[in-house]
């Protein structure tokens, strides 16, 4: 197992944001967490990245217990995230943002970096065109591409994508999901959080449904996409 989360509890002050959630991500998979606003999806992702303190439970990565590991040490292991709201460094150029993605890499001074940058530019030709542009002046869709590209620059084993389709035009959403599938095919394991449940379930090998901080269902993407209850709650009737 690449990522194992066991009975994880995270609080915001006295409020329980997530309660006893357990899930697994195996190498090579696309796994998705879906759920409504406030279900605890983003909290889960931030906790996996080490940005929220864990109240109880454990997180293991490649068999190693990382529950208490500081956030800035986790990219070294191969965990990278494209956060909710993109979190681009808006005062830096596209190239500088991508370089920040490789900040923790030991091989950052080797030609490998350039290969990875070219790979990102291959996935997102738009970023290549705008390489010298300051991120803050780009559109939401371009910033989303940059956030994903920046996470890829870490050459991660596990890529965490938090709401990559949020606020994007429908055409762009399709494109982003195609790219996520492509990234996975190139060998990167993906944990995806989405409100766009239809697309997420279509693309994911397995899926978990979060409701008010707890996992209420799990199954393959297809199983859940065809489940009447899931359809009613998350897919707006038909897919």
């Amino acid at each position: 197992m690449l990522l194992e989360v066991d009975d994880l509890c995270v609080n915001y002050g006295r409020i329980e944001a997530i309660r006893n959630i357990s899930f697994k991500v195996d190498e090579g998979e696309v796994v998705t967490l879906i759920g409504a606003n406030g279900a605890g999806k983003t909290t889960t992702m931030k906790t996996v990245s080490g940005l929220r303190p864990v109240r109880a439970g454990a997180i293991r990565f490649n068999g190693e217990d990382i529950t208490a590991m500081p956030a800035h040490e986790r990219p070294v292991l191969g965990i990278a995230q494209s956060p909710e709201g993109r979190g681009c460094f808006i005062g830096m150029t596209v190239l500088e943002n991508l370089d920040m993605g490789a900040y923790a890499r030991k091989d950052r001074k080797t030609p490998k970096i350039k290969e990875d940058r070219d790979r990102v530019f291959g996935l997102f030709p738009r970023l290549a065109e705008r390489r010298s542009q300051v991120a803050g002046t780009m559109s939401g869709g371009e910033q989303q591409m940059l956030a994903i590209g920046r996470a890829l620059m870490a050459s991660p084993k596990l890529l965490l994508l938090d709401e990559p389709s949020m606020g994007l035009a429908p055409k762009l959403i399709q494109q982003i999901f195609d790219i996520i599938t492509e990234i996975n095919k190139q060998g990167t394991t993906v944990l995806l959080v989405e409100q766009n449940a239809a697309q997420a379930l279509k693309r994911a090998h397995r899926a978990y449904i979060l409701e008010t901080g707890e996992i209420v269902r799990e199954g393959t993407g297809q199983e859940l996409a065809n489940d009447p209850a899931v359809k009613a709650s998350y897919l707006g009737g038909d897919v």
Partner: protein
């Protein structure tokens, strides 16, 4: 009000204003850097400056090298800059460990850190002003009289290098001190700017300022970045202290206070959190208060400086260059 003085000595007021502006600017960098990554006004930064100045004076005193001429000036300046920058960086780092870090680890609200800053400022200043007491207890104050005697008076000397007039800019004869101050300030500023733009650590600082969570996700160690900003800001304040010693030729335990307020003003004027803003603010403030002094008389110098601040903030509430360290490219 009398404009004839300013018109007759325009270049003199401009160049000496720029030299003082350079001192403000270098100190302002420390305020703005720390604000950028911590959203904290480090009010004790003025005392970091003052301690660097004393360190330089004492080390030169120990070498018996208070005066120099010719090539000796270069040696004296190198020792002075190295000592003051190292001392100020150490004091700044100590300040972060004692006054700010423990509060941060306990998630204290920003107001508490501000109180801690004010307390640290007084502590550093008064420690210097009362430095004779521990030496008296040990009975060695007579041996150390050059260092600890009359602690509330000015230091025995600044940097006594002979003032030489080098060349004319219109009516003003530029002195070697003007050149040293402006030249070394500009070199420091360029080095810092390049460091922030090009080095990995410089980028790390900007990343933390722009988005601390994203920076952590990329592997930036926030605590290390914070320590680094205190060290850089401290070193710049130490360099400013040497320039101050060159221009004013003495330093006191409370010399930091007004200078700190002015430098903070410069940082706000340019847009707090913005490095280039701090530089611009420093130079504008230095020149403007010199012009004000020429027009209204010396006792109005500070009034002019702070009136300028209020007026500019009325029209540009985020300062001249506006954006924070986060948003700006510097």
């Amino acid at each position: 009000m009398d404009f004839s003085l300013l018109f007759n000595h325009f270049w003199e007021f401009t160049i000496t204003g720029l030299a003082f502006g350079a001192i403000y600017a270098l100190i302002a960098l420390g305020y703005t850097l720390v604000y950028g990554v911590l959203r904290l006004i480090n009010f004790a930064h003025s005392e970091v400056f003052m301690w660097g100045g004393f360190a330089a004076v004492w080390v030169l005193l120990a070498f018996g090298a208070s005066q120099a001429s010719g090539l000796g000036i270069v040696g004296l300046l190198v020792v002075a800059f190295a000592t003051a920058m190292a001392a100020s960086a150490l004091v700044a780092l100590g300040l972060e460990f004692v006054a700010y870090r423990p509060l941060r680890k306990r998630n204290s609200p920003p107001l508490i850190a501000l109180i801690s800053a004010i307390g640290a400022s007084y502590t550093l200043s008064e420690t210097m002003g009362l430095r004779d007491k521990p030496f008296k207890l040990l009975g060695i104050d007579n041996k150390m009289v050059d260092y600890v005697g009359r602690p509330r008076e000015a230091s025995p000397f600044g940097l006594n290098i002979e003032t030489k007039r080098l060349f004319h800019v219109f009516d003003y004869q530029v002195s070697n001190k003007d050149l040293i101050v402006l030249g070394s300030a500009i070199v420091m500023m360029i080095l810092l700017d390049q460091f922030m733009q090009r080095s990995r650590l410089g980028r790390g600082i900007r990343a933390v300022a722009q988005d601390p969570e994203s920076a952590a996700m990329m592997g930036v160690n926030r605590d290390r970045v914070i320590r680094l900003t205190f060290v850089i800001g401290g070193a710049m304040a130490g360099a400013a202290a040497v320039m101050y010693l060159l221009k004013v030729e003495q330093i006191r335990y409370n010399s930091g206070f007004l200078l700190g307020v002015k430098a903070f003003t410069a940082a706000v004027l340019g847009g707090i959190g913005n490095l280039r803003g701090a530089l611009l603010g420093g130079f504008i403030l230095g020149v403007a208060e010199n012009y004000g002094q020429a027009i209204f008389g010396g006792q109005w110098k500070d009034v002019v400086a702070f009136t300028l601040l209020v007026v500019i903030l009325l029209f540009r509430p985020t300062g001249l260059l506006g954006e924070s360290l986060g948003k700006a490219r510097a």
